[in-house]
């Protein structure tokens, strides 16, 4: 169903509730509604039309339209359509009905909106602070345009501690994190444990925010941001790089040359290959099976070398600029890449054959960390977690971008909904990635790598881009702006949604299963923690004060 037909359907259903609509293409639909009817419209879209919740965006639009802007994004995966429900809020009283009672998956996004933009979700089920540091004063919202990117409010109190909820009766608290051998990045799960059983948990993350969105909106330019975007994540950086560039291209109506699209596809799939191999290794390490951990890292290494040959870097490829890519794939690299893929395929076949027969690993992963289709829908889970529960979604097929509409591949699904199914999904996706890269190498046509862009990009246009990262859908939302930079850029990384499903996945399980359950979503905390103006560890260091440490760090950078 193309956007126009969907819009007709909306008009019949909502009639006068729709203030105006924007249909920039067949696959995008922007609907502006009145603040009071947002909840009703979202409920209809999410429940009756069975759309998938993607993200909510709050934006300070006061300097331009005089209002605050809120967008709830949904995806109609079967109809290949991304839809955004937008509304303007008055500048003096930015309040909006919370949609969490009908769309539970929006829980975090609305809390983030409250923290950073100061838009109050009225009737939110759990309106606790999510993103801002513990000592940040109420009423200061860093993403508002009148707050400078490097401003720290005077009332900021680095010593204030986070107030956790009371544990339920009869449970002891097992702190999991902020530093733990299985967490590669800081995040804190406060587990409520009865004996060896986990009865619930509270999550406190967002400890390493780098203020990336604010930085982009205030000091960087369109072509700087791709390099910043890929630093959101150390594993799936290229995904953010491509997603950002695609959303700007969409907003500005630019079409990159075909060769650039093929190269983007190849790099994205290379990234998926090394990410999946890394994950299988880490998952095995978590359950104590270090041999496979080492072997999958060995198998993975040639992929890293290929990436280095193409881009000069094992990771952080610096691939895209607006309207194209920066690296070419030469005939020599093509031959070499084919050889690497052949070797990888045969080695991986051996590993998969060994793992799928191994009763020992299945014992630790079957029936563990279950996220069924119901949870997938309500918490908005995506990627291998959703596919392992039999939910057949994959942005590469559903919302094709780059050259994915020109290659053939299967979307792998499993029915078990547990950690074992996620292992299988990822293991099989490796073969699909190899297939995609081979087709791209075959079909890639000669031509320019970049589009020549002579004019300034148009202002105030919106662009959406969903890119299937190894962990699930990475969603970028851009409003183009003045001074050669976007007004608003919102990143919704896959872990942002998947983490919200974790409390339900680990409930009533053993502590021993907690780590592999969490590991099975392939969590990426740096992706989730991408925004914040200042990040400082709260005063636990006695000898060095924060200022001294900061000074030291700055001196080091200055050299």
């Amino acid at each position: 169903m193309i956007a126009r037909e969907m819009f007709e359907q909306f008009k019949q259903r909502f009639g006068p509730l729709i203030l105006r609509a924007d249909l920039p293409s067949d696959r995008r639909l922007f609907v502006f509604v009145d603040p009071s009817s947002v909840k009703y419209v979202c409920q209809h879209i999410f429940r009756e039309l069975d759309a998938r919740y993607v993200a909510s965006i709050g934006s300070d639009d006061r300097p331009y339209s005089g209002n605050f802007l809120v967008a709830h994004n949904f995806a109609f995966d079967r109809d290949h359509l991304l839809c955004s429900v937008l509304t303007h809020l008055p500048p003096d009283d930015p309040r909006i009905d919370s949609i969490t009672s009908v769309v539970p998956a929006a829980g975090w996004a609305e809390r983030e909106m409250r923290d950073l933009v100061g838009i109050e979700p009225v009737g939110h089920a759990y309106p606790k602070r999510l993103v801002l540091p513990d000592g940040w004063p109420e009423g200061n919202h860093p993403l508002r345009k009148d707050v400078l990117w490097n401003q720290v409010p005077e009332q900021y109190d680095p010593d204030r501690e986070f107030r956790f909820d009371e544990p339920p009766e009869g449970c002891t608290v097992v702190p999991f994190g902020p530093f733990h051998p299985t967490l590669d990045e800081p995040a804190h799960f406060r587990l409520y444990v009865e004996g060896e059983m986990v009865r619930g948990c509270e999550y406190r993350g967002f400890m390493v925010h780098r203020g990336i969105e604010k930085l982009a909106e205030s000091v960087m330019s369109y072509n700087d941001i791709p390099m910043l975007a890929e630093r959101i994540c150390g594993i799936c950086g290229c995904v953010h790089n491509v997603a950002y560039v695609q959303s700007v291209e969409e907003a500005a109506g630019l079409q990159p040359p075909p060769r650039a699209e093929y190269i983007r596809t190849i790099m994205l799939e290379l990234e998926r290959l090394h990410s999946h191999l890394l994950w299988v290794g880490l998952a095995c390490h978590i359950v104590g099976f270090d041999t496979l951990f080492m072997q999958s890292f060995r198998i993975r290494e040639p992929i890293m070398w290929m990436a280095e040959k193409i881009s000069g870097n094992r990771k952080t490829y610096a691939l895209c600029v607006i309207g194209g890519v920066r690296w070419n794939i030469t005939p020599e690299i093509k031959t070499e890449l084919r050889a690497v893929l052949d070797k990888l395929e045969s080695e991986w076949r051996t590993v998969v054959a060994a793992v799928s027969r191994d009763k020992n690993i299945q014992k630790r992963t079957r029936g563990v960390g279950v996220a069924d289709a119901g949870l997938v829908k309500n918490a908005g889970l995506i990627g291998p977690v959703a596919r392992a529960a039999g939910v057949d979604i994959d942005c590469r097929r559903d919302h094709p971008y780059a050259a994915y509409d020109r290659v053939e591949f299967d979307v792998i699904t499993e029915q078990g909904a547990d950690v074992w199914s996620r292992v299988l999904v990822r293991a099989k996706e490796v073969f699909e990635s190899i297939r995609i890269i081979r087709q791209c190498l075959e079909k890639m046509e000669d031509g320019p790598l970049q589009l020549e862009i002579k004019d300034e990009l148009p202002v105030g246009r919106m662009g959406l881009s969903s890119v299937e990262a190894p962990r699930g859908e990475s969603h970028h939302f851009v409003i183009t702006g003045e001074n050669n930079r976007p007004r608003r850029w919102r990143v919704r990384a896959p872990t942002y949604q998947n983490l919200q499903g974790v409390p339900a996945m680990i409930k009533d399980q053993q502590i021993a299963d907690m780590t592999i359950s969490l590991g099975s979503i392939d969590p990426c905390f740096s992706c989730t923690d991408r925004l914040e103006t200042i990040d400082l560890r709260s005063g636990s260091v006695k000898v060095w004060s924060q200022e001294e440490l900061l000074k030291l760090a700055r001196k080091k950078v200055e050299r």
Binding site: F289, D290, K363
Partner: protein
């Protein structure tokens, strides 16, 4: 004069265990690395690791530092005392000092040390770790005790030298009870030496080393040393009890054969550890409980002379 020999023999056994244990660990790490397509550390790395740890600052931490220190000393001491009771290619030096019951008690003492260490640390992780350790101990220790009892029943004596001489088998051949116990011990051996898939109480990726979470420097070195010694001593016990063949050969041959058998066992442990994932505590306990059932059958069979 015999007392002097006893003391010298005990010193020799203790020295031998202290000397060989890190080497066994080194071999274990090297072989593991090879299975994992890695280079692996130098064979002597565990010696350097221990020396490095011993040379570090002796920090006091946790809830009860005195108990923490005591637990570290006790764990190595208990292990080395066991070493004096086990024949290492020769007759056990402290043969006359006690019987099989003493051996069983000393072996449980090692588990008690882990318990003390975990309690002294007082962190949530160590407490979860020791609760797992205790659950394992309750189901594991009887297995070894029954193996020794079966031997005692067959040999008609609790004396160390008569039990620790392949006594689970009788002169007449292979009784059912002996074969059953051999199977049980082979299946649970990994748990006795606390390696994957049964390193549940330490489980680095779940509990951050569990009971040892607060240990560092010299005290950690002692605990690590005790764990390395444990591998050697349990292997030696296993060999004396279940693989006695060839021990009667003249001096260098029998002695060499004994140590070859011990190292083959270490290799076996390595390979199993490298090819398995860690079990969850409930899965492990269920496994041990099954073995316990079998071993009771073996004990009953033994008492009827089978």
């Amino acid at each position: 004069m015999s007392q002097v020999w006893t003391i010298l023999g005990a010193l020799a056994n203790v020295g031998l265990v202290l000397l060989v244990a890190p080497l066994a660990q080194g071999i274990l790490r090297r072989i593991t690395a090879r299975i994992q397509s890695r280079q692996g550390p130098p064979l002597l790395q565990p010696y350097f690791d221990l020396l490095k740890l011993l040379g570090k600052e002796d920090l006091e931490s946790g809830e009860a530092p005195v108990m923490q220190r005591f637990a570290a000393y006790l764990s190595l001491a208990a292990m080395l005392t066991v070493a004096c009771l086990v024949p290492m290619g020769f007759a056990a030096p402290l043969n006359a000092a006690g019987d099989v019951i003493l051996l069983i008690y000393l072996l449980s003492l090692c588990g008690i040390c882990t318990l003390l260490a975990g309690l002294a640390a007082g962190s949530t992780y160590s407490l979860v770790g020791i609760s797992r350790e205790m659950m394992c101990m309750i189901t594991l220790e009887p297995l070894f005790a029954i193996a020794l009892l079966v031997g005692a029943v067959h040999s008609g004596s609790f004396r160390l030298d008569s039990v620790l001489r392949g006594s689970v088998y009788t002169a007449a051949g292979l009784p059912w009870s002996g074969v059953l116990m051999l199977a049980v011990m082979l299946l649970s051996f990994q748990a006795f030496v606390q390696r994957v898939p049964f390193d549940i109480s330490e489980a680095e990726t779940e509990l951050m080393e569990g009971p040892l979470v607060e240990y560092s420097g010299p005290k950690l070195a002692l605990f690590k040393y005790a764990q390395m010694a444990k591998l050697i001593i349990y292997s030696a016990l296993f060999v004396t009890l279940f693989v006695p063949w060839g021990s009667g050969l003249i001096f260098p041959l029998g002695w060499l054969l004994f140590w070859i058998k011990v190292f083959v066992l270490v290799l076996l442990v390595t390979v199993v550890a490298a090819t398995h994932a860690r079990y969850r505590i409930d899965q492990a306990i269920r496994f041990f409980a099954g073995l316990m059932g079998i071993s009771f059958v073996a004990l009953i069979l033994a008492s009827y002379g089978y």
